[in-house]
């Protein structure tokens, strides 16, 4: 089975809140204020892919669209034994968004050839839009299943189990399919073996510019144009503590209940 996993590098969501800063001019996270990590849901997707490969054989290609530093997420994927890595360099577009990214990734996937399974994280920890996988499926004219947490190969094709608002859905896909992966107990990312980390640094990564996949900055900007970032701020969390008083437990419970009704009413 040929599997493609798309990976995104994002600012570390676990950065200490006090350390996190914004670049007010460019409306992005200040790159100096947080380390860069692989988006956790992308890691869940990669882990699911690795397990599929171990169970059924095949090849895993990892693909990312990002600046030069994003090579790191590919090295990490190679260290857990992804087979091929492709890096489409972002020439400096600040807000490609899901639409821009989907445009770039689809073009790269077309150039890479056909895959049986295309895997994405369910959303990225920076913007949290959760659109890219669906948009790529649209671009490529492939079926799409969101919020998948289990995948198995069967004789009739891929057995897919996903989460929905009302429960779980089970599907079988006969041909190529795009899935977005959510986290589960079964896809906690593994840590790499040391020898594989060392080997990963010696492996080749295919690096493409936008022109290499028949795109230009303007085309991507145009694709991204449907969404514009107009304001960016860190929400202020306000916590107040209030003690309910009263002479007896009944009085306090009564006052407490009234206060809850007030609070709910004021929202």
């Amino acid at each position: 089975m040929k599997i493609l996993v798309c990976l995104k590098q994002i600012p570390d969501p676990e950065v200490a809140p006090r350390d996190f800063r914004l670049d007010e001019n460019n409306l992005i996270a200040d790159p100096a204020s947080a380390g860069l990590v692989t988006n956790i849901f992308c890691e869940n997707a990669l882990e699911t892919a690795l397990q599929l490969k171990e169970a059924a054989g095949g090849e895993i290609t990892v693909l990312t669209f990002g600046p030069a530093e994003a090579e790191d997420v590919l090295r990490k994927a190679l260290a857990v034994r992804a087979d091929h890595a492709v890096h489409v360099i972002n020439p400096g577009l600040l807000h490609p968004g899901s639409s821009g990214a989907a445009c770039v990734l689809s073009a790269a996937i077309r150039k890479l050839g056909s895959f049986d399974l295309l895997m994405f994280g369910r959303e990225a920890g920076d913007w949290g839009e959760g659109q890219t996988a669906g948009l790529v499926a649209e671009h490529l004219g492939l079926p799409f299943v969101a919020f998948v947490d289990s995948l198995q190969t069967t004789e009739s094709g891929l057995h897919i189990v996903g989460q929905t608002d009302s429960g779980r859905e089970e599907l079988t896909a006969a041909g190529p399919v795009v899935v977005s992966i959510t986290n589960s107990d079964a896809n906690v990312p593994r840590i790499p073996k040391t020898r594989d980390i060392m080997m990963a640094h010696r492996r080749d990564i295919t690096t493409w510019s936008l022109e290499d996949i028949d795109l230009t900055e303007d085309l991507v900007r145009e694709a991204a144009g449907s969404v514009e970032v107009t304001e960016l701020f860190i929400p202020e969390k306000d916590t107040t503590c209030e003690f309910i008083t009263g002479d007896s437990a009944d009085e306090r419970i009564d006052a407490f209940a009234r206060r809850i009704v007030d609070v709910i009413g004021s929202i």
């Binding site: 676990e14 200490a16 006090r18 380390g35 073996k193 040391t194 020898r195 980390i197 060392m198």
Partner: protein, 691 residues
């Protein structure tokens, strides 16, 4: 008067048979020894015969005087009796041999009377008492640490019978020959008088012949059998003590050369060094290591003794030719483990290996210099680096170290939160800095410890020390990575830290955490660091000594002290913390049952503070009970990990009595601020959450 002596064989004819029997005896014994040597030689090379004078000193201390055995007075006494009795009787037999076989008349005159008769007679009696005490311990007292094997019982009975028959032979000879110097052998004299009262001379002569040959067969049997039993420690223990690691403190781990190492860690016998294989054969099954092990004491499955003994069984079961072949192929990384060890026996299960806190109590307790926990670490290295197999919470700690430079997944604090309102400069902004205050992840990122760190910084400010911190430029030293077994990650962190400190021009470091202290002091030199390193307790003690910091006794609560393993046992610093606590109370502290170099771990070392422990086998609860036992109001600590582990432990045993946990820096600052106007420390613990 005639010269005092005795006839050697006297009643025994055909004693040439003895020499004939000696040949197979020695052949069997030497074959046993040779097999051991062959097995050890399959290990990797390591230099352990350099610096003979230092080694000889160790041998005298631990091998001859056996100082570590005396921690348990009964064992110290009985072993000394057996040991010196054994030496003396061997010497006496050698004298007989020189006298009889080399025809050099030694056994006469005063030497015969004082040494060969009186001294040997008394020491032999003590050896018998020794075997009786050993029997008392093995069969009546039955301490849990011992291995109750048939082999051990047989050996004890054998030694006892050899000693007793020796006295029977001596007594009967004295009785029949009416030895004029018999009273120089008081025990023999008593045996002679008692025997003569009941048995005729002819009867004694016959009994003498029978028992003489019986005694001989037992002695030869013992000699032939010894190398195949734990009695081999007569040879292996002194050798092991002599070849011990002189360069490392117990807790200092060795770096790996990742370019050349065939295996990252150990999962096969031939991947150990020859000294590590010798370790296995030096074990006397005494069980002091497991007795001292905090994890074992708390009821976990980890047993350093059984790890050594299980590895020993693996070693003895291994075909020597397979072992040698594996040893030759060991430089090939693709060869894999030829004689796998992890998970082959109960004590070697990954579950047990992941319980070690690296406190080194086992190494400290071992009377024959076996290094138990470094072997655990070697196997952890294999699990982590070759198999990428480790408990999920430790994997998270490793990932966090890699991505964020600290091991606390989900930490909300930043490295400088604790400095709020204190005006602590970055090291680069300090003019003519005296020291870098290395705060450490535990001191900066864990809410509870921020008040300890604040107290320490205020004390340094009060003493006028020109110091700075690295703030956001500080990262973990890599200690948790190294002790979890991820040497590759530690290697990278160590190199980058050494480089960072070098380029910042840091020469002196004061750490708040004993783990950082140990890493800087003992492990970073492996990566080219040349730093003067202080744990804050020794540094503050020095400031007080220089008069730069004045502490008046102002704390009235009664205090006990928990010695952090990486301060006390690993680095021998036990006095400075006591001096500081003495300063604030003005009186001696209440010592816990286990303290100083024999301190009991809080349960947090070796990455274990990142694991959820089973509720009924938590190490920190064991230690908390020892704290409560002292009756103290407060337990003083000097390590951020110990602080949180003990607070958790004391919380769980709080129904017994509530005991406060305070860092020594907090106690000192309380003391300083309570009698001066510039302090607000007493409210600091409460306010720290607002920082």
């Amino acid at each position: 008067m005639e010269t005092a002596t005795r006839e050697v064989y006297w009643n025994i004819s055909h004693h040439w048979v003895m020499y004939v029997l000696l040949v197979p005896t020695m052949a069997v014994a030497l074959y046993g020894v040779w097999r051991h040597v062959q097995r050890w030689r399959a290990g990797k090379p390591v230099v352990r015969f350099d610096r003979p004078v230092m080694r000889l000193k160790r041998l005298i201390r631990f091998g001859l005087l056996q100082i570590s055995l005396w921690r348990d007075p009964l064992t110290g006494l009985l072993h000394a009796m057996l040991f010196w009795g054994f030496i003396t009787l061997t010497a006496a037999t050698t004298v007989v041999m020189i006298h009889e076989d080399l025809n050099i008349p030694l056994m006469q005159g005063r030497f015969y009377l004082y040494f060969q008769s009186l001294f040997v007679d008394v020491l032999g009696l003590l050896a018998i008492v020794g075997t009786l005490l050993a029997g008392l311990q093995r069969w009546v007292l039955r301490p849990r640490r011992l291995v109750f094997s048939g082999e051990a019982s047989c050996l004890l009975l054998l030694v006892f019978t050899i000693l007793v028959t020796g006295y029977l032979l001596e007594g009967w000879r004295i009785a029949v020959t009416d030895d004029p110097w018999g009273h120089w052998s008081p025990v023999g004299r008593v045996v002679a008088d008692v025997s003569a009262a009941f048995v005729s001379d002819a009867g004694l002569r016959t009994a003498h012949v029978v028992v003489w040959w019986f005694h001989l067969v037992l002695v030869f049997g013992f000699i032939a059998w010894a190398p195949y039993t734990k009695m081999r420690h007569v040879l292996t223990a002194p050798l092991n003590i002599f070849t011990a690691d002189l360069d490392s403190r117990a807790g200092t781990l060795k770096p790996l050369d990742f370019e050349t190492a065939a295996s990252f860690g150990v999962n096969s016998l031939e991947q150990f060094t020859w000294k590590e294989l010798l370790d296995l054969d030096a074990c006397t099954e005494c069980g002091r290591c497991t007795d001292a092990c905090p994890a074992a004491s708390a009821g976990k499955s980890l047993s350093p003794r059984d790890i050594i003994l299980d590895l020993q069984h693996q070693l003895h079961e291994a075909d020597v030719s397979v072992l040698s072949a594996a040893s030759k192929a060991a430089s090939d990384p693709d060869s894999g483990p030829a004689l796998p060890i992890i998970d082959t026996r109960p004590a070697l299960s990954p579950e047990s290996l992941w319980q070690c806190t690296t406190c080194a109590a086992c190494v400290e307790a071992c009377p024959v210099s076996i290094e138990q926990f470094p072997k655990i670490l070697d196997m952890r290295r294999y699990l982590v680096m070759e198999e990428a197999s480790l408990p999920p919470m430790l994997a998270e700690a490793v990932t966090s170290l890699e991505q964020r430079g600290h091991p606390f997944r989900g930490a909300q604090a930043s490295r400088t939160d604790w400095t709020d309102g204190l005006d602590i400069p970055h090291f680069r902004d300090v003019e003519d800095p005296e020291v870098l205050l290395w705060v450490g992840c535990g001191g900066a990122l864990v809410d509870r410890n921020q008040s300890s760190t604040r107290a320490l910084a205020r004390l340094l400010q009060k003493a006028g020390v020109r110091f700075g911190i690295l703030g956001r430029d500080e990262t973990c030293t890599g200690d948790p990575a190294r002790r979890i077994g991820h040497e590759f990650l530690f290697d990278a962190m160590a190199r980058s830290n050494v480089e960072r400190l070098e380029s910042a021009g840091v020469r002196t470091v004061v750490t708040s955490c004993p783990h950082c202290f140990h890493t800087f002091r003992n492990e970073y030199p492996q990566f080219g660091a040349h730093l003067e390193v202080f744990h804050y307790t020794t540094y503050l003690a020095r400031l007080i000594g220089e008069g730069r910091l004045v502490i008046d006794p102002a704390v009235t609560e009664s205090i006990t002290l928990h010695d952090p393993c990486y301060l006390g046992r690993h680095n021998g610093i036990t006095q400075a913390p006591r001096d500081l606590v003495g300063r604030v109370t003005g009186r001696p502290l209440k010592e816990m049952r286990q303290h100083g170099a024999q301190s009991f771990c809080c349960g947090g070392g070796g990455g274990m503070s990142f694991l959820e422990e089973e509720a009924d086998t938590r190490v920190n609860i064991e230690r908390a009970r020892q704290v409560v036992e002292t009756g103290a109001d407060t337990v003083a600590v000097a390590c951020p990990f110990c602080t949180t582990m003990l607070e958790d432990g004391l919380g769980a045993v709080s129904e017994e009595r509530s005991v406060a946990v305070k860092d020594i820096a907090e106690l000192l600052w309380d003391s300083v601020s309570s009698d001066s106007s510039d302090g607000d420390a007493s409210t600091d613990h409460i306010d720290s959450s607002d920082d």
